[in-house]
Amino acid sequence: MKRKKQNKVDPHIRSLTKIVGESEILYKPEDLISYDCDGFTVHKALPKAVVFPKNTEEVAALVQYCHMNHLPFLARGAGTGLSGGAIPLNEEIIISLVKMKQLLCVDYENRQAVVQPGYVNLKLTNSISDKGYYYAPDPSSQYVCTIGGNVAENAGGAHCLKYGVTTNHILGLEVVLPHGEVIEIGGEGAPDSPGYDLMGLLTGSEGTLGIVTKITVRILKSPQGKKTVLAYFDDVEEGSRAVSDIIAAGIVPAALEMMDKTAIEGVEAGTFPVGHPPDIEAFLLIEVDGIMAGLEEQIEQILEVCESWNVREVKVAKSEEERSRWWANRKTGFGAMGAISPDYLVQDGVIPRSRLPEVLKEIEKISRESGLRIANIFHAGDGNLHPLILFDSRVPGETEKALQAGTACLKACADVGGSITGEHGVGIEKKEEMRFIFTEEEIEAQLDIRDVFNPYDLLNQGKLFPKPSRCMDVKKIVKDTVAVQS
């Protein structure tokens, strides 16, 4: 009886259990359901198992095992990704890094900190803020997302307009390569280490080149002063013209965010309403930071620009409390859509800033034609649009319609010389749309690089690149037939 029971457990599961221990593996279907998707919920698939390694050695052992036994595997952080990068399309072994969540060291004099991949983004800032430092990349999910995930996706955030995205803040990485070898890139944080910039290549590779197990990041001194402005516009186009003019005036705002009417309706129905006028067409949330003495002048200039574009009302945050309320309202914008729609699909197109008005018109057209409401939340300062397509997956056919509308939005961005993703990554979601901006040859060139790191394509298979971009990939694609969930 007992033997029979034991035999039922997959031998691979038994071997993996030996590596991480009984309590650090999930393999029963009921336990795996929670891992069938990440922040992108349109596709769902069960992994073979989820393992929770505690250190680099365990990660390396797990990877080696998968490599030796040709088991597909992938790494997962908090699972907040919006493009499906952590969804197990091929019954992967999910290597969850959430138990590797230590802040290993902070070196204030050299402006760097070393963290494990499961360390939560905002925790870093919280643990160094008493000394006046912070970690700059601030994706909206920073309350929960992990820095390892940030590296995989090259995460951005509201403040990357001035301070750059994740790749600009990474100084060193420890990586487990797809065959299990552990390498260190960037040493102890010395810049420009000789040789090709593998750190730059790995950052944003969406977990297809290796699994990051230790990260050295740059930390910054908090600015002396911050001023935040909220400007309400009766016309979206006037709001977006104001965006261009602020930048053209030679101001580098720390953040320059915009939301349209539908998005405002969402956040006002959510958990952090701030009382935006309901009849407003758009608002701009503008933040400048730096030396206190210089901020007043910039604010005046910003107000002038807003006035010149017929702003209805403009106000400067009077307290830190008010400022954080405005930001909470903005940062929870995506999730808040749940309050006005059962499902949403967020897109992540980027366009040259000056093309904002025409692209917004195009999106409006897409909304009209699809019959789906589209809310717009965007990092207007760097032209990063987040059209949120609102739909109800319970209505037959609506999911497909939403996906089509999303693709159309990306096409509109690509058509004006933009990109299909600014910070969410390609994942599963935008694989096909890669063709909007890259030729077959260019995609091939990227696959050549992948093959150097991941020749057997066991690590995060079926992500990032359209299918089938070459004959070799065709047979893998056959497996990749996950039905669109309705």
Binding site: I33, D38, S141, T271, A339, P342
Partner: protein
């Protein structure tokens, strides 16, 4: 055994004939509640059990996902479903973190109801649970039987700890000059005021309020009830203690026993029918009373009465801040930190008021606690049913308590017990007090001073 249960389940009707749902029709989780969840994950770091386990099924969105999966027919109501659903502390931190206001707590309670319908409790947990929930808490007279209670909590190993908490030792010995006015052990206020219909206000009458005396509160923490009455009357409130009131039912609902929950709710709604305000000093109870309407979703008449009742319920700190209170003049020289009871901060949105009260007492050196609104692990009787998780959550909590504070103040009896255990475990010197007690002691000092002068 599982199969057996599933068979049993199949024999009864699913909630709607033509759906895939694996839920029972009665009290099935409300689809509208999970439809708002877009799986964004903003709740993860707020959830004590996720922080502890790192596993999605023990996170708010994971639980919602499971609850949804049962409705979609992908999962049965079985052990694998019950475990994450019952590991939840019901601390409601996720509700605060959720951008879309998803009522995870409500869903969990409904899901627990389903689990209890599908698989009634057995064994020690079942016995203990039913002893607490069915045979003890709802019966004030039994609760008064202190010997029984003491026996019970000797068994649970809490006795030593309790000695350090507010109930027995803290106030009389540790506040200089207070001994004279502090009796050794306060009796239940229901006993004390057995024959009193209305406790008069001191000075001009501002309002009349009814008070929930609670089940555990009144027996283990009678002195806190006494303090509450004193603070209320000191501020011009006449206080009534409706005799027919009973346990709030929070623990029953948390445990999935919605039928008993409803029974108790009805009794309380009736008991407080005449009251204009229902003042509560236990966060868990207050939150439960406010959520009575949830229990009567399918009963329009009672839902209506429950809504009217819920609108009258107020935590004592919020009530005092809203209606104004006398700022004490006597000094209490203590360094004090404040722990947000989950059902006060997340459940009722009361954060600022208790802190305000503490800082209004002269001499108090207030220190903010890191992650003050993270659960301590008490969670009703969770620390008895899930001791390991409760212990782990407590460890995390204790790491955030400032080392050098003399007192840790809070507004919930369950938290007081759990924190007292934490203080004991880590050999800290901090005393555990209810926020209202501190205000009371300051007032008593004021009265004493006035008396001397007079």
């Amino acid at each position: 055994m599982l199969k057996e249960l599933m068979k049993k389940k199949d024999a009864s009707l699913p909630c709607e004939e033509n759906t895939l749902s694996n839920y029972f029709a009665k009290d099935h989780p409300d689809e509208a509640k999970w439809a708002d969840c877009v799986h964004c994950g903003m709740c993860l770091e707020a959830c004590p059990t996720y922080l502890e386990t790192g596993q999605e099924q023990h996170s708010p969105r994971g639980r919602v996902h499971l609850i949804k999966s049962v409705a979609e027919g992908k999962l049965n109501v079985n052990e694998a479903f019950a475990d994450p659903v019952f590991q939840c502390l019901d601390c409601r931190a996720c509700t605060t973190a959720c951008p879309a206001d998803v009522d995870v707590g409500g869903l969990i309670e409904e899901a627990r109801g389903q689990v209890r319908q599908a698989m009634p409790l057995r064994g020690w947990k079942g016995a203990a649970g039913s002893f607490f929930l069915k045979r003890l808490f709802p019966h004030p007279n039994r609760m008064q039987t202190v010997s029984g209670l003491l026996k019970l909590y000797q068994q649970s190993g809490l006795q030593k700890v309790m000695r350090r908490s507010g109930a027995m030792k803290v106030m009389p010995d540790h506040l200089a000059g207070m001994e004279a006015i502090m009796p050794e052990m306060k009796a239940s206020v229901q006993k004390t005021y057995k024959n009193v219909d209305l406790i008069p206000a001191k000075g001009a009458v501002k309002a009349r309020v009814a008070m929930l005396t609670g089940c555990i509160m009144d027996v283990m923490f009678g002195d806190i009830n006494e303090s509450t009455i004193h603070v209320l009357t000191y501020n011009g409130n006449e206080v009534t203690l409706p005799k027919q009131q009973t346990c709030c039912g929070a623990l029953h609902v948390h445990a999935g026993d919605r039928d008993t929950g409803r029974k108790l709710a009805k009794q309380n709604i009736e008991a407080f029918e005449d009251a204009g305000k229902v003042i509560v000093n236990a966060a868990g109870c207050g939150c439960a009373l406010k959520e009575y309407p949830e229990l009567f979703k399918d009963d329009p008449e009672w839902r209506d009465r429950a809504e009217k009742f819920a609108a009258k319920v107020e935590d004592v700190s919020k009530y005092l801040c809203d209606t104004g209170y006398v700022k004490p003049e006597s000094r209490i020289h203590k360094s004090i930190t404040y722990h947000d009871a989950c059902h006060l901060a997340h459940g009722q949105g009361v954060r600022h008021e208790p802190r305000q009260m503490l800082q209004d007492i002269p001499g108090v050196e207030y220190k903010e606690m890191k992650n003050a609104d993270t659960c301590c692990g008490s969670a009703g009787i969770y620390n008895l049913t899930n001791p390991e998780m409760a212990g782990a959550v407590l460890d995390r909590k204790m790491a955030d308590v400032p080392e050098d504070v003399e007192m840790i103040s809070m507004g919930n009896p369950g938290c007081m017990l759990q924190m007292a255990m934490g203080v004991q475990k880590y050999g800290r010197r901090s005393e555990i007090v209810h926020t209202i007690q501190l205000l009371d002691w300051a007032y008593q000092k004021d009265e004493q001073a006035a008396g001397k002068k007079g």
